[in-house]
């Protein structure tokens, strides 16, 4: 039965309709795979066996009754950031110990309404702050990919590291993820999977634990472009409960697949050629350009002059918003409480014990840049630079560019407990150098696997689109996928 886990969502859905197997058999196949391999990967922080089997049985009834939804019987992993009613929801943090929400996030509610089955909650960097999944209270996640001839454990990227590893290791058919600075696209690139961060406002943020509210967006990580389109179709919605949810109908994303890119204008930004970038990233980029050219797209050189300021501006805006959002963890309303000699001491002891190092670091930066006397110099300056970053994109789109092609990451996956990354927080932050601009401008971006490096590790390309033109990204990414093929980790576990 284990080969059921190798099916894409589109394939599994068709076979469920054809009664080749039941939803319960499919779910049991995944539960078996998780049982066998989760100890190795640490991708799930909670497995919901009983709930999964009950949901799968209900799916079988709906399949039999001809009332099957778009994701009927499809087993999914859910990032620990999404509130799931009565189920472990801790943003992989110690401070949310034991938290089981009494409500369901809009994104997951949409998935269940379409018939999807929940396998469990996926590991992540604590409060989505990290690029390697090493800041999790539950420990690091292992990447299913290893360099050729090596037994060294690699990170799956982050913050959605559990999501990416689970999809790549066949421990779920697809996963939810979130992206504040690259947290969907970077792990997708590190694991040979497809990840899309939609336009800000496309997926409701209601019921998703907040990190940086003006940047956070949910999206899927999937085995291929079609599955990513199917999942986003369900996750995206218009939601009155989120004041930034945009009132636009959700288009049929899969209809864009297979459409030609002939005549489309693809921009190549010169600022994404950064110093110290490995030669093979450049080669991959050129290969992507060649594929799109062969498919009839017109390639144009563009300039996005404020690119280099996106990451520093992000490291003011995101911590500032985080310091405010994370003020709610006070030992009173949920999660951990450490006793103190008075209420202030209780707050301080609880937060000292409950937050990990990286989270504390960002709360401290955020508190500092928002404090009296520094607000204008840091926060207002960063928000002005953000306006300029967005204007760069608006200018190239106004000049007729339909989408922008860039590398997804400046390197392939690195080792767990990498010494250089651990010694210098800024070096870790540089992982997001190609992805963070997209969050700062609120645009959609997709990472699609495009090749392997000399170590045999996956590398991804990123496509950036105009606001709410996810269809253009799916269409173009599909062309790259057709040319590049799909990449599967050789099974060693």
């Amino acid at each position: 039965m284990s080969d059921l886990t190798k099916l894409t969502i589109a394939e599994a859905r068709a076979k469920l309709d054809a009664r080749e197997f039941t939803a319960l058999e499919l779910t049991d196949a995944y539960l078996g795979a998780i049982e066998a391999a989760n100890e190795t990967f640490n991708a799930y922080v909670a497995v919901t066996h009983d709930k999964a089997r009950a949901m799968a049985k209900a799916s079988d009834e709906r399949l039999a009754g001809g009332q099957a939804g778009a994701l009927e019987g499809i087993p999914l992993g859910i990032k620990d950031l999404f509130a799931t009613e009565g189920v472990h929801t801790q943003a992989a943090s110690h401070i949310l110990d034991g938290f089981k929400p009494r409500y369901e996030s809009t994104v997951t509610a949409n998935l269940w309404a379409d018939g999807a089955v929940m396998l469990g909650k996926l590991n992540m960097d604590e409060f989505a702050m990290g690029s390697s999944n090493e800041t999790s209270y539950y420990g690091p996640v292992k990447n299913p990919w290893r360099a050729k001839g090596s037994n060294t454990d690699l990170v799956p990227g982050g913050s959605s590291g559990g999501s990416a590893a689970a999809v790549a290791a066949w421990l779920c058919a697809g996963a939810t993820a979130t992206d504040t600075g690259g947290s969907i696209r970077q792990p997708a690139a590190f694991t040979g999977t497809v990840g899309i961060k939609p336009t800000y406002g496309r997926c409701s943020r209601w019921g998703t634990v907040a990190f940086a509210s003006s940047l956070d967006q949910a999206g899927p990580i999937a085995r291929d472009v079609r599955d990513a389109a199917i999942l986003l179709q369900s996750m995206a919605s218009v939601d009155k409960k989120d004041a930034t949810s945009v009132d636009l109908p959700v288009p049929d994303y899969t209809a864009a697949l297979g459409q030609s890119v002939k005549g489309m204008k693809i921009g190549i930004p010169r600022e994404y050629r950064v110093e110290g970038m490995p030669e093979e990233i450049e080669t991959l980029w050129q290969q992507g350009i060649a594929w799109l050219k062969d498919a009839g797209a017109e390639i144009v050189d563009i300039t996005l002059p404020h690119t280099k300021y996106a990451l520093p501006a992000y490291y003011i805006v995101a911590p500032a918003e985080a310091s405010s959002n994370l003020a709610r963890y006070d030992g009173v309303r949920y999660g951990l409480r450490v006793p103190g000699k008075d209420i202030t001491d209780m707050y301080e002891q609880t937060r000292a014990a409950g937050f990990g190092r990286e989270v504390k670091r960002r709360i401290m930066i955020g508190t500092y840049v928002l404090s009296a006397g520094y607000y204008d110099a840091y926060y207002v300056q960063a928000q002005k630079v953000r306006t300029l970053i967005k204007r760069d994109f608006e200018t190239v789109f106004a000049d007729g560019v339909d989408a922008i092609l860039t590398p997804a990451t400046p390197s392939s996956a690195f080792g767990i407990a990498d010494q250089e990354m651990a010694a210098d927080p800024v070096k870790m932050y540089l992982n997001d150098i190609f992805t963070v601009t997209v969050n700062m401008a609120g645009l959609p971006g997709i990472a699609v696997p495009a090749g392997l490096d000399h170590k045999g590790l996956p590398l991804g390309l990123q496509l950036i689109g105009k606001p709410f033109e996810e269809e253009t990204l799916f269409r173009t990414a599909h062309v790259i996928e057709q040319a590049a093929g799909r990449f599967e980790a050789p099974k060693w576990w």
Partner: protein, 95 residues
């Protein structure tokens, strides 16, 4: 700009995070590395540029000022570390 240990201790107090002298020392170095990195924003000419307030141009949605939910006190306190009769319990605040 850079921070010293006293500033870090003050910021930790504002953020309600207990730090030891050793933590404050370590954090000072880390924070200065990050502040050094963001320093380059100062070189951008932002004259006449409005700070961003919303990435997607949109009007804040309004709703009727009406009660649409509620009577869920037990749900609200369900996850609290200490409660009594649907109240949150905290250490004594007023002498």
């Amino acid at each position: 700009m850079s921070v010293d240990v006293d500033t870090v201790t003050r910021v930790a107090r504002l953020a309600r995070i207990a730090v030891t002298a050793e933590d404050a020392q370590r954090m000072t170095g880390e924070l200065n590395a990050i502040l050094g990195f963001v320093e380059q924003l100062g070189e951008v000419d932002v004259s006449g540029v409005e700070p961003m307030t919303s990435v997607i141009p949109m009007q804040m949605r309004r709703r009727d000022d009406a009660v649409t939910d509620g009577s869920k006190a037990a749900d609200v306190v369900a996850n609290a570390p200490a409660t009594e009769e649907n109240f949150f319990m905290v250490p004594k605040v007023i002498e």
